[in-house]
């Protein structure tokens, strides 16, 4: 188990390496001159050239790549071209708001999605089922920015309890988390419903009923423990989506998170920040996947010890 985890961890290195090449190449393909941005809008031609030299942008591309890789290995992400702060500080400041948003969205959407899915599955074919699944389909179909704008317009503005933008108090989390989580809740509801129905058809559920167990034990202990195996995998994928997929929502709510930072950095051609952010998103995704795989072994005894 431990070796398996370490192996998987080492397996991430070639993936990250490949991604770093791709990210670097794409950034260099972007139009515009980063040296000019670094030097400032009114800088003279000489100042721009001087900036190009300080940043090493006049060196051949492979050298630039290896420079970047070398400093990356030392934990140095470089400085932003816009404000000349260390990139790690900028990203660090944006990371926590994004994480909080992702966690809040994840918690409510996972619980609500699973509960709604089980509810629908247990009333399969009745109006409650159709109602719940209709709700889920609308959750998937509703564009998040639209839901966000609606919430700002009809909840935040008239009541004044929740902020329309920014992140100062925990309460500010509520509206963005609802917006971000609704699609995930909907996906989880549909997925849970089908996973539950599949497990409920299994012979061991019939065995559990034949033992005269209470409805609650049959549903939560015997059926759900098994249905959880695919659900956990799905939850992991969704969490990755929440962490990196909040660009639209962070923009709508002016959330000082990673998505917002990414958009701002792309707009201002801040190459070191964009590079580091993309690499960070990939790393987070890999780590979450690994965590899910390891968790899978814990909840599914038949794949343990392999």
């Amino acid at each position: 188990m431990l070796i398996h985890g370490l192996k998987r961890l080492l397996g991430m290195i070639p993936v990250l390496f490949t991604v770093s090449i791709l990210v670097f190449a794409f950034i260099k393909l972007m139009p515009g001159d980063p040296a000019r941005i670094y030097a400032g809008a009114d800088a003279s031609l000489e100042a721009v050239e001087a900036a190009r030299h300080t940043l090493g942008l006049d060196r051949p591309l492979p050298m630039q790549y290896f420079d970047w890789l070398a400093s990356l290995a030392q934990g140095d992400l470089g400085v932003t071209y816009r404000t000349r702060q260390p990139v790690s500080e900028v990203i660090g400041a944006s990371f926590m708001p994004s994480l909080w948003l992702a966690l809040a969205s994840f918690c409510w959407s996972a619980l609500a999605g699973i509960a709604l899915g089980v509810f629908a599955a247990r009333r399969r074919g009745r109006w409650q089922d159709y109602g719940a699944m209709g709700l889920a389909v609308s959750g998937i179909s509703l564009p998040p920015f639209w839901l966000g704008l609606l919430l700002i317009q009809f909840v935040a503005v008239p009541f004044g309890v929740f902020a329309t933008s920014g992140f100062e108090r925990p309460l500010d989390l509520v509206l963005p988390a609802i917006t971000l989580g609704s699609a995930v809740a909907a996906v989880m509801a549909r997925f849970t419903r089908s996973a539950y129905l599949e497990a409920a058809n299994e012979d061991y559920v019939r065995t559990a009923r034949a033992k005269g167990l209470t409805q609650r034990m049959v549903v939560w202990k015997h059926t759900m423990r098994n249905a959880l195996i695919p659900i956990v995998t799905m939850l992991g994928l969704q969490f990755g989506f929440l962490l990196s997929g909040s660009i639209v929502i962070e923009t709508v709510f002016s959330w000082p998170g990673l998505g917002w930072l990414l958009i701002e950095s792309i707009k201002s051609q801040d190459q070191p920040v964009v590079q580091s952010l993309v690499l960070l998103f990939v790393t987070m995704f890999l780590v979450i996947n690994l965590a899910v795989d390891l968790l899978y072994g814990v909840i599914n005894p038949t794949v343990r010890h392999t």
């Binding site: 070796i3 019939r206 009923r209 005269g212 167990l213 209470t214 098994n226 005894p301 038949t302 392999t306």
Partner: protein, 620 residues
């Protein structure tokens, strides 16, 4: 199920002396299933009784309604089922009589698991894979009897002992997938017995098990029924098992009870034609004594068949296998290294002549299926020589072997899983012809497909249909037609009839024999069913732990089995004659496994000739 319940309080019948003391009395029970095309009547006026301490066998083929009867008693019918009439009277421990069909869900639940126990057919899927055995054993006792964890555990260990599970403590802490099929079924029985039920319903509890394990389980059930004096409703399709265990027999056909009687009287003088047909279709071990060639099953209303033509053993054999080895690595430990190997096939040698049927028998895990699969390269072989018609198959590369596949085909056990549900039957049969470029197009293949369908007793028009429109027996015929498409010389049939009902089984076997007569086909017939093997085989090879322990002419091997393992296999076969019921003592040893340290070489097998073409492994 709710609306019809109240109007159905049928009048109490006059007290019948035979059933006055009954534990369970079903009367005039009718159940229908609501479907998209209207209601389907599953049970019609079913009635019988089970007394305390009595084993009643409920017999019939699939679809006869035996499982629906048991599920109705347990209150486990699916939501679309409705009881339209009849009562299921049960005398509970408190002495009061309740109609199980009219109970509320809550009241029924309280009886389930405490007074009514049930064992299901599939031990592999009936235990919850994510919960430990101990948890699954104790939960009902804790709920119904209010035992604390310690008392529940003590009772579970004691019950595991009663179903003769060695090392109960260890089993208590395992997950189901760590146990063999036989052990899981014992756990299932222990689970049903945890609250000491008064009525036990066993739904085909031994069908999925090896004969030797089946013999154990039957013996355990009989012992327990005597010890606790519980009533047992034993559902089965196997008349041999009925003869072994039942006190009374209830025969069901198409949702009705057609005959019921004491077991001896029923076997001696079956009255209903369906009962007679069921009994006639039961292969009886020993029936073929003195007959050297296989003989097709007699069919009611047809003249008795000729035996199969004798095999000419002076010819060179069609298939020759020498020192074939297959090993499966087992990874374990922190590093996931291969530390042990399953020696699934260990230096096996055998020959098969044209027009001959060689049966390969043994328990699950003996390596018989792996041997069959490795001949077709469906399992990787480590070493050994395989020649077909004088050509060395093991030396061929992948492309060369593909050309040889037309000589060598296979029919699998599960007729539901081995046909692609999205392809028409015609396409499935034509596919080998297309792959081997025998025909250029599907259209060109059609005449051949139609001829093949006729050859296996189906209609040419069936080519356009999809697998789900056919019954299990018909599907197995389709699988045989597919195997025949390339006119092979040898077909490996891996438990090809094991999943079929008795009468269908007999028909498919007769078809296999007819094809052998007509096409001089050789069959490698892999089976665990000794009675069927006695019918079909010219010669028999017995496998244990990856080795052939005995091989010889079927008549000699069945009449004078030489190896102790062959004798054990034959002894475990239920005898379809209640007057010959034996008081067996079976050893409780768990079957050994062919798991050895990596690279371990067992001593080379050596054989002793005990008769003409009859060899026995010398154990040493």
């Amino acid at each position: 199920m709710q609306s019809t319940m109240s109007q159905l309080h049928s009048p109490t019948t006059e007290s019948n002396p035979a059933t006055a003391d009954a534990l369970l009395e079903i009367e005039g029970l009718s159940v229908s299933f609501g479907g998209d095309h209207g209601d389907v009547q599953a049970l019609e006026g079913v009635g019988f009784a089970v007394r305390p301490g009595e084993i009643v066998a409920l017999v019939g083929e699939s679809g006869s309604g035996k499982s629906v009867t048991s599920l109705a008693t347990m209150g486990l019918l699916p939501d679309n089922a409705r009881r339209t009439s009849g009562t299921i009277r049960y005398r509970s421990a408190s002495g009061e009589c309740v109609d199980l069909g009219a109970l509320t869900d809550q009241a029924h639940r309280r009886l389930r698991g405490s007074e009514l126990g049930m064992i299901f057919q599939e031990p592999m899927t009936s235990l919850n894979p994510v919960l430990r055995v101990g948890d699954q054993l104790t939960e009902a006792a804790r709920l119904h009897l209010g035992l604390d964890p310690r008392a529940a555990r003590a009772r579970a260990l004691e019950t595991l002992g009663r179903v003769r599970i060695p090392a109960a403590e260890r089993v208590f802490a395992t997950y189901p997938h760590e146990l063999s099929g036989g052990m899981r079924q014992r756990v299932m029985i222990a689970m049903a017995l945890m609250c000491r039920p008064r009525l036990l319903i066993a739904d085909e509890p031994t069908t999925a098990l090896d004969v030797t394990v089946q013999a154990h389980i039957l013996e355990i059930l009989r012992d327990l029924q005597r010890q606790f004096s519980i009533g047992v409703l034993f559902i089965t399709h196997d008349m041999g098992v009925v003869a072994e265990i039942a006190d009374r027999v209830v025969v069901m056909q198409a949702g009705r009870v057609v005959e019921q009687n004491e077991v001896g009287a029923l076997f001696a003088a079956p009255r209903h034609p369906y009962t007679r047909k069921l009994l006639a279709a039961v292969p009886r071990l020993g029936e073929m004594r003195g007959t050297f060639s296989p003989v097709p099953f007699p069919m009611p209303g047809e003249p008795p068949s000729e035996p199969q033509p004798a095999v000419d053993y002076t010819q060179p054999p069609l298939l020759e296998v020498e020192a074939l080895q297959v090993r499966f690595p087992i990874r374990a430990g922190w590093l996931g290294r291969v530390t042990r190997e399953i020696q699934a096939v260990d230096r096996v040698g055998l020959s098969l002549w044209p027009g001959e049927t060689l049966a390969l028998v043994g328990e699950s895990g003996s390596g018989k299926s792996t041997l069959g699969r490795s001949l077709l390269r469906l399992a990787p072989s480590l070493d050994g020589r395989v020649s077909l018609d004088g050509k060395r198959l093991d030396e061929l590369d992948e492309a060369g072997f593909r050309a040889m596949r037309r000589e060598l085909q296979m029919v699998f056990q599960d007729p539901y899983a081995s046909l692609n549900p999205r392809l028409t039957v015609g396409f499935s049969i034509a596919e080998p012809l297309l792959i081997q470029r025998r025909v250029a197009s599907l259209r060109e293949a059609l005449p051949q497909v139609e001829r093949l369908l006729e050859q296996v007793g189906l209609s040419p028009a069936h080519a356009r249909r999809y697998p789900h429109e056919f019954s299990g027996g018909q599907r197995q015929r389709i699988a045989i037609a597919r195997a025949l498409a390339l006119s092979p010389k040898l077909i490996v049939a891996d438990e090809a009839v094991s999943a079929l009902d008795v009468s269908v089984k007999a028909q498919v076997i007769n078809l296999m024999m007819a094809l052998q007569r007509r096409l001089r086909l050789a069959w490698l017939f892999i089976s665990h069913d000794m009675a069927v093997v006695e019918r079909v085989a010219h010669r028999v090879a017995v496998m244990q732990l990856g080795r052939i322990v005995e091989i010889g002419p079927r008549e000699a091997l069945f009449r004078t089995p030489q190896h102790p393992y062959t004798r054990r296999l034959l002894d475990a076969v239920p005898i379809a004659d209640p007057s010959q019921r034996r008081g067996r003592r079976l050893d409780d040893e768990e079957p050994r496994s062919a798991l050895f340290p990596k690279g371990y070489q067992r001593p080379a097998p050596s054989y002793r000739e005990v008769g003409e073409r009859h060899w026995v492994l010398e154990d040493g």
